[in-house]
């Protein structure tokens, strides 16, 4: 049985379009799923529409090194009960990804060098520091994002500190030290040495970029795709002005040469 015009073998039965749908990545910062569910519940209690019932990708990068296998079946059921769906996983160790696939979850392609979003990972943001409910509810309007004013930071961002520019760009005028973390939903500019981590397009904007006047970062990320630098930044760009952008699924670095 079918509706509409009768199908012939050459009437197209589907078409493929690149939709660039807004997709949240729900990053697991701990492999302790009991804690994860508890905090997520608390968060949803404050902002029930946070994900607007859209499917989310489960980010595993931060727990890849721990290599613990979350109970994906249980987690999917937990999410479903709350009207949410896990579309698939992004990042994670090979074993974790295999386990997710075995439970019927999709595998989002992994950025190169994404294996190690880890060890010195920042402490999970305590619930108290999460954005006030009202703002959070407004967030899923990712389809028609309301731009916030640029957040400008003029003091050093030090080890253990996180600066988050929600809904907009982040400009830092002072040093960002190793172990510090910058997060922006838009672009990130650093007009001093960038030695910590910088995560632009944190809500999935693949066109976000990072601009650093003196590039020495430990990790950069665009829209959830990570690049770590175990052996430091390539010598040709180390400590130089650099921009970071997403090329397909690859995070790429480019010297910032003046264009005439």
């Amino acid at each position: 049985m079918f509706l509409g015009k009768p199908m012939t073998p050459d009437t197209p039965a589907f078409k493929i379009k690149n939709a660039n749908l807004p997709l949240f990545v729900l990053h697991a910062l701990t492999a302790d799923m009991a804690q994860f569910k508890l905090q997520l519940d608390a968060h949803l209690a404050q902002a029930p529409d946070f994900f607007a019932a859209a499917p989310v990708a489960l980010g595993l990068a931060a727990i890849a090194e721990a290599d613990a296998i979350p109970d994906f079946t249980d987690l999917s059921a937990f999410m479903r009960q709350r009207g949410l769906a896990i579309a698939g996983v992004i990042g994670g160790s090979a074993r974790q990804r295999q386990a997710a696939a075995d439970c019927g979850l999709g595998l989002f392609p992994d950025a190169r060098g994404a294996r190690r979003h880890t060890a010195s990972a920042p402490e999970p943001v305590p619930v108290a520091e999460s954005p006030p409910a009202q703002e959070a509810v407004a967030a899923p309007a990712a389809a028609a994002p309301s731009r916030r004013p640029t957040l400008v930071v003029d003091k050093p961002v030090r080890t253990g500190q996180t600066v988050h520019a929600e809904g907009g760009d982040l400009v830092v005028l002072a040093i960002v030290n190793a172990g510090a973390e910058l997060i922006a939903d838009g672009d990130i500019h650093v007009y001093a040495p960038l030695r910590g981590r910088a995560l632009a397009g944190a809500r999935g904007d693949t066109s976000a970029r990072i601009f650093a006047q003196c590039m020495e970062a430990e990790l950069v990320s665009i829209a959830g795709y990570f690049q770590v630098f175990e052996d430091g930044i390539p010598a040709s760009m180390r400590s130089k002005p650099v921009q970071v952008l997403l090329d397909g699924e690859r995070v790429t670095l480019h010297p910032l040469a003046p264009m005439r």
Partner: protein, 270 residues
């Protein structure tokens, strides 16, 4: 107006207590009424370094709990006038160090003293937090190694975000870098970070450099703050630090390796 100065570092064993004892003594030697408080509850050792461990009756927790008046817990230093020690408790639990209680003690001390020096425990837990919370200024004690610099950076971040001054939106805590256990020879050999390397990362003004010296151990074993060791380079360095803190323009010393004479090279230094 009394000033509260925290001696802090994040990392353990870098020389906070050694510095607290010598810095407080130096301030007192220059005629300032000074008190030094040990916040290392459970591991007190400021009293050992100051040589007053046998005179401890009451401690900071007794005062917070109302078991003893503040004046009864203060111990007068045996080396200089104007200096008092408020010891930590060896037996109590750190959590007894309530912010509210510490605030009361500091307010009361401000009525009598010019400088209140707080010797912080290592780490970034409760004890370290209560030592820094009320600070007006901070001596960030750093050894020339990466892990120590990293921890100092962390502490600076906490000072800037969570100290009372930050929380109340007052002027920020004034930060001073104090590099201790500095060995210019090993720096020259590339085995340790240089003062410039450290400053490049932390980006706060340098108050002084204390050389690595065996005399520090002798001093602490004999219960005498290192600043009293006549003619030692450590004592000189700490005196310079106090002078700079009080606003004197004293040039930096002990940052370059002295040339080793042939004799020293053949028979070893020291």
């Amino acid at each position: 107006m009394a000033k509260v100065i925290v001696v802090t570092s994040g990392k353990g064993g870098v020389g906070k207590t050694t510095t607290s004892a010598s810095f407080a003594s130096g301030l007192a030697l220059r005629g300032n009424k000074t008190v030094v408080i040990d916040f290392d509850v459970g591991l007190r050792n400021l009293d050992l370094i100051m040589g007053c461990e046998r005179r401890v009756v009451f401690d900071i927790i007794n005062v917070i709990n109302g078991d003893a008046a503040l004046s009864r817990a203060l111990i007068k230093d045996k080396h200089c006038d104007n200096l008092y020690v408020l010891p930590a408790s060896q037996t109590r639990d750190k959590d007894a160090l309530s912010l509210e209680g510490v605030g009361r003690i500091i307010d009361e001390l401000k009525e009598t003293f010019d400088y209140i020096v707080c010797d912080s425990p290592a780490g970034i837990e409760h004890g370290a937090f209560s030592a820094m919370y009320f600070a007006d200024e901070a001596l960030v004690v750093t050894n020339p190694e990466v892990s120590s610099v990293r921890d100092s950076d962390r502490i600076l971040g906490i000072l800037a975000a969570k100290s009372k001054r930050a929380v109340d939106g007052q002027d920020p805590v004034k930060e001073h870098l104090l590099v201790t256990r500095y060995n210019p020879g090993r720096v020259a050999a590339g085995e340790m970070l240089s003062v410039e390397d450290i400053q490049e990362i932390l980006r706060i003004p340098l108050l002084g450099v204390i050389p690595e010296s065996e005399s520090v151990l002798q001093a602490s074993n004999s219960g005498t703050p290192a600043i009293h060791l006549d003619k030692s380079d450590v004592a000189e360095a700490y005196k310079d630090v106090v002078a700079r803190f009080m606003g004197d323009g004293v040039p930096m010393r002990f940052i370059t390796a002295e040339k080793m004479g042939l004799f020293k090279r053949l028979f070893g230094g020291r």
